[in-house]
């Protein structure tokens, strides 16, 4: 309380009295979807597979069942924006959908939904399907030849192996779009490099970029080029960037060797989070493969993100480009990197080191997730690095035990 309180109270009251009636809602998202089964474990690999939280950019929702599981009628509950209405789009037209109603998901049937905002001006359409898991053969060979512009036409997206989440590679390009709306597709941190691969075909180019005035405003001055499998939740890019990168996809094989063609180009001065040059520090690219246990003892999902992708106790196997580390295991910045990469292409062989025994039963039931990750700045998650630092990547071979 201060001496102004007496004067201010009427002002605040006056202003509050002027508040108008709230406008009707304009949003119309599916925030989560759940399927109801008496015994989820018979159909799904994990109990948590029956509930999906939907990020705001997703409209195609897929549940993956065990390869042998038969699904039929399943009750569905959609959690949508408060006030929004749910319509099930059937052959006879849109019908209001009551949560908990059972839908037939047999033989991969796709159900379409339209969510209409409270003010009835805005709507979004979603599809929901329940698909069988496809058996995967383990060894992966990836050459970054299949890419296209995303729906907005702003940046490139790459097709990945089927075992990857959504069958796609993920990266921070959607986050870069928020800060640098004027950037052309080839100005993004993750771009294809046509004709520049070791074999003369296309390869992947990661480059640490300046995020411009908006990046500076929110103290995220640089964007490292990145590539990984999992989910990039662009909604968290500003709030909690480390949480935006959700690493890994369930994997049923035991990787033993990670081979990849790499070359690097040194960028400008190494900048700390405040954009100030750090003398005596040279930026380093990063490449790693991780296998981690994706479920805890209580059956809850374990999701590695930028906070613990390389340090989580759930990690059972790790292979990474060499770096300096402090005695306590934290990253040590230095002027003499030991990653061994040069401006010339070379095939790097990264051994996969196991910290724990693999349980074959758990492995076969998708209890482990695989991460393949790259970055042009190894401290990029903390918005530290050299603008212009580049990592070129091609011809990944992940070899697994038979």
């Amino acid at each position: 309380m201060n001496k102004h309180t007496l004067l201010l109270a009427p002002c605040a009251l006056l202003l509050s009295a002027c508040i108008q009636k709230e406008a009707e809602g304009t949003e119309c998202d599916i925030e989560s979807v759940s399927l109801h089964l008496d015994r989820p474990a018979d159909v799904f690999y994990h109990d948590y597979d029956t509930l999906q939280t939907i990020i705001s950019t997703d409209t195609e929702i897929t549940f993956t069942t065990r390869s042998y599981a038969e699904v039929g009628m399943l009750p569905v509950t959609l959690c949508v924006t408060p006030g929004a209405a749910i319509f099930h789009l059937t052959e006879s037209g849109p019908e209001p959908f009551r949560n908990g109603s059972a839908l037939d998901f047999a033989e991969g049937k796709v159900h379409k939904f339209r969510i209409v905002s409270q003010d009835k001006v805005w709507s979004r359409e979603y599809s929901i399907s329940v698909l069988h898991d496809k058996p995967s053969e383990g060894n992966l060979f990836i050459d970054f030849e299949e890419f296209e512009l995303d729906a907005s036409g702003k940046y490139y997206v790459w097709k990945g192996p089927d075992v990857f989440t959504d069958g796609q590679w993920k990266n921070g390009n959607p986050g870069f779009k928020i800060s640098k709306s004027s950037a052309m597709p080839m100005d993004y941190p993750s771009t294809p490099a046509i004709g520049q691969g070791p074999d003369g075909s296309a390869c992947l180019k990661l480059e640490t970029r300046d995020t411009g005035p908006f990046g500076k405003m929110v103290n995220m001055r640089i964007a490292s080029g990145s590539m990984f499998n999992g989910i990039f939740d662009v909604g968290n890019a500003l709030k909690d960037a480390l949480k935006a990168t959700q690493f890994g996809s369930p994997f049923t094989h035991k990787p033993v060797q990670f081979r990849v063609w790499l070359r690097t180009e040194q960028g400008e001065a190494f900048l700390n989070r405040n954009g100030e040059p750090e003398p005596g520090v040279v930026d380093e690219p990063d490449a790693y493969v991780v296998l981690y246990r994706n479920e805890d003892a209580q059956g809850n999902k374990i999701q590695l993100d930028g906070n613990d992708v390389l340090s989580s106790p759930s990690i059972v196997a790790l292979g990474r480009l060499p770096h300096h580390y402090n005695a306590d295991g934290t990253d040590q910045l230095s002027d003499s990197p030991i990653h061994g990469l040069t401006n010339e292409w070379q095939e790097v062989v990264i051994p996969v080191e196991y910290k724990a025994e693999i349980d074959p039963e758990v492995l076969a039931n998708k209890g482990y997730s695989l991460i393949i990750g790259f970055a042009s700045s190894w401290q990029g998650a903390y918005f530290r690095g050299s603008i212009g630092n580049k990592l070129f990547i091609d011809n990944i071979r992940l070899l697994c035990e038979d």
């Binding site: 102004h4 004067l7 201010l8 002002c11 605040a12 202003l15 509050s16 002027c18 508040i19 108008q20 009636k21 709230e22 406008a23 304009t26 949003e27 119309c28 998202d29 705001s56 950019t57 905002s117 805005w122 709507s123 979004r124 959607p174 928020i178 800060s179 640098k180 709306s181 004027s182 411009g212 005035p213 908006f214 405003m217 929110v218 103290n219 662009v234 909604g235 968290n236 890019a237 500003l238 709030k239 909690d240």
Partner: protein, 265 residues
């Protein structure tokens, strides 16, 4: 507003009528000498108010806090009474005024451009605004003398700002809700938080008009032979933003009141 003022003036006029017979009182409390003539009034006051959209748009759901910034006005008026009841005054008032406010908003359209980079969309969460203005106001007022000791004045004013600041930031509200829907209400939902608030671009003040016009209403009560107690209200009628400024989707007007003491001679 206009009706309220008329009502106040009328009330004072009625209340004052029975006293008008006492001519000596009129002279005693009049201008320096007699019923007509002129003089100067030096004023110093405390300023409180805000710069606000009018009416408050639907997007504003709740005012969390409000506090003034600055709040000083010093000036001088020259006045001349043309008759027993009517006069004119012209002044020059120097002021430092401003405020800080925190408001919860829903679907608040923002359009931010910095060095050619554009971020736009609909924000829901907490919006904090701070503005301060240093300047001078020239009011030209018509004075009506209600009673020997009460004057009311009304007239237009012109303000010129030497310096203006307009800063702010957006983040999540007390319920933890803070996000921008990019471009449209169904666009990408970008979460925002008070741990890493998103500030307004630092060039907002460059888009403010250096001048504004409005109406000033003022009352003076002659407490002592040379000392007035006064109160005034400056009601801005021109948008503080330049017409091509799109970052804020509604017009905003400065509305500031002053209470103070004046020396009359």
């Amino acid at each position: 507003m206009k009706h309220t003022l008329l009502y106040i003036v009328a009330t004072f006029m009625l209340a004052a009528l029975p006293a008008s017979a006492q001519e000596d009182k009129w002279e005693k409390w009049g201008p320096t000498t007699g019923l007509t003539g002129g003089g100067f009034i030096a004023r110093a006051g405390y300023v409180i108010g805000g710069t606000t959209p009018l009416p408050l748009p639907k997007e504003i759901r709740k005012i969390n806090s409000f506090s003034p910034r600055g709040g000083i006005s010093i000036g001088i008026d020259g006045y001349r009474m043309l008759s027993k009841r009517w006069g004119l005054s012209l002044g020059a008032h120097f002021f430092w005024e401003g405020f800080h406010t925190s408001a919860d908003v829903k679907n608040y359209y923002v359009w931010l451009e910095q060095e050619g980079e554009i971020t736009k969309g609909y924000f829901t969460g907490t919006n904090v605004t701070n503005t301060e203005m240093w300047g001078a106001t020239v009011p030209l007022l018509c004075t009506f003398r209600i009673s020997p000791r009460w004057n009311v004045s009304l007239g237009p004013y012109l303000s010129y700002y030497f310096k203006q600041t307009f800063t702010g930031e957006v983040y999540d509200n007390n319920e933890g809700v803070g996000y921008l829907r990019e471009d449209t209400p169904v666009g990408t939902k970008i979460l925002m938080t008070r741990d890493n608030p998103t500030p307004y671009p630092d060039d907002f003040a460059d888009h403010m008009h250096p001048m504004s016009v409005g109406l000033e209403a003022c009352f003076d009560w002659k407490a002592m032979r040379h000392m007035n107690v006064f109160g005034s209200l400056d009601w801005g009628l021109s948008n503080i933003w330049q017409s091509d400024f799109e970052a804020i989707s509604f017009k905003m007007y400065p509305i500031y009141g002053t209470i103070g003491l004046a020396y009359r001679y």
